[in-house]
């Protein structure tokens, strides 16, 4: 057990050190959600006749799920795996006793820390504009955590299968991500969606992340009121982790040689 823990910490620390050295990604992962929060917040305030504080309260969840966690946890974990494949450092990991579980957990931990930092940043800025947050902190935390697990799982699937080079990451995030973000209500309020699109959106995990967070932290709803979103996220997150693991094993079979 200790072996897995040490390995996980080593992988996570290495990823975070690399990101800190490059700085750019970390800075952009901070700037992007904040700018989306401000844009969404001021648009809501103006168009929905809300106070700035109330508008920020409703804009924060979608900014977090769509502009923060999506790019740092999904895009970031694809980039981590792809960069290992491109630099071929993954081959040295194959030679080493590092277990696949620790490798996955290390990536998950590193991106969770980034995701949690983004959560604090987004909500701190929203609070700065007077937004107040009701509902259970713990429940909101679990929703954020499930979102991160789901994103890292999807990142693993895409990073081990479709993305082979760094340039592929942007294409993949654009192709799969942006339509899902729009359909999940990350950039446009779901209330604007036609009925048919709304029915489709209910199969989109981003919709559930967004709705669950709005319900808990903006509307103060309890677990019993949001359990539909919660269970959907649970199933999706663990399905993605399972699939991510299978695809990682498949990549090992194909690439596990010098």
């Amino acid at each position: 057990m200790m072996k897995y823990w040490d390995e996980t910490i080593a992988v996570a620390q290495r990823i975070l050190t690399e990101l800190c050295r490059r700085r750019r990604s970390l800075i952009f992962w901070g700037i992007f959600p904040v700018s989306i929060l401000l844009l969404n917040g001021f648009i809501f305030a103006e168009r929905a006749n809300l106070s700035t504080a109330k508008a920020m309260q409703f804009a924060a969840p979608s900014s977090l799920v769509g502009a923060a966690l999506f790019f740092s946890c999904l895009g970031g974990s694809i980039a981590t795996v792809v960069s290992e494949r491109e630099q071929k450092t993954i081959k040295r990991l194959f030679i080493s006793p590092l277990s696949g579980i620790s490798y996955f957990l290390g990536i998950f931990l590193a991106h969770s820390l980034i995701g949690m930092s983004q959560t604090i940043l987004v909500y701190a800025i929203a609070a700065f504009f007077g937004a107040s947050f009701g509902g259970s902190m713990l429940l909101g935390f679990f929703i954020v955590l499930l979102s991160i697990i789901a994103y890292v799982g999807v990142g693993f699937i895409l990073g081990t299968t479709l993305a082979r080079r760094t340039e592929d990451v942007n294409a993949l995030v654009g192709t799969f991500g942006v339509p899902l973000l729009i359909l999940g209500g990350a950039f446009l309020p779901i209330s604007l969606f036609p009925e048919k699109l709304l029915r489709v959106a209910k199969f989109n995990p981003i919709y559930h992340m967004n709705e669950a967070l709005v319900d808990v932290w903006a509307k103060g709803k309890t677990w019993t009121e949001i359990n539909y979103h919660f269970w959907f996220l649970c199933v999706f997150a663990f399905l993605m982790v399972g699939c991510g693991w299978l695809f990682y094993r498949r990549m090992l079979m194909v690439e596990r040689r010098l």
Binding site: R14, T17, K91, I95, P97
Partner: protein
Amino acid sequence: MLEIKNLTKYYGKVKVLEDLNLYIQTGTIYGLLGPNGSGKTTTINLICNLLQADSGIIKINNQIVSDATKAWIGVATQENLLYKTLSCAENLDFYARIYGLKGKKRARQIKTSLTAVKLLERAKSPVETLSGGMQRRVNIAVALVHEPKLIILDEPTAGLDIETRYEIWELILNLKRQGMTVLLTTHLLDEAQRLCDRLCIIHHGKIIAEGSLSELRQLFPAQEIVLIKTEAETKAIAIAQQLGFLHRRYGGDLAFLLPYPLELKEIIALFDGIPLHSLTRQSVQLEHIYLEVTQNY
């Protein structure tokens, strides 16, 4: 240290290794030679337990290779597999942790490995700021950091300048002096000749020659080689054939294989009447043996 018995490996229906047998003694440098595609890398993959053999066994320290034996092997690949934005010490620290080293022992091993490759003073420099030769040395240090019993060096000097090559050679010989066992693959035959205690030449997945340099010299049909430059090559070849000397071409140069040593004046006398631009005597080198055995095979 390393024992390979009757190792056979197929990729699909293609047999890439056939009945390979090797034994590497502790504290020696063993050279694995062969043309591209001969099966060297497949052998390394099997030793590292990255591939499964179709038949045969590989033992390290009398234990059949498995994930458990990975910690006994250190591999320095031909490419520098390093995290470029991390410093030398951070790269070593990461791998030391992966191999389960902790606390003071980890710090000591990082220092020892960087000292071994003469990069202690650059410990905090990011890898991307180092020269190609220094990066290669960091790559070797990473292979040493967990104190492996067997070091596999896959073309450690490929693409390096001569000064760096000499530094790496010195490093490899130092590893041997410290009692480590080294498996070296290289296309540079002078490197193999200079460093290796024993050599193995693989071709089409089979061992075609194995032994020390003096043992391999027995496979060569001459004791000395004479290279000549002349416009009358046909005439020179005819004379040599009459005397029973074989001839070869080494990189365009005409060479005659002398089955017994001759004095210089005797050699010159052999080619009497032929306008010679130059005549060079050479002892039998590994490259001659290599070409002989791989071309005859």
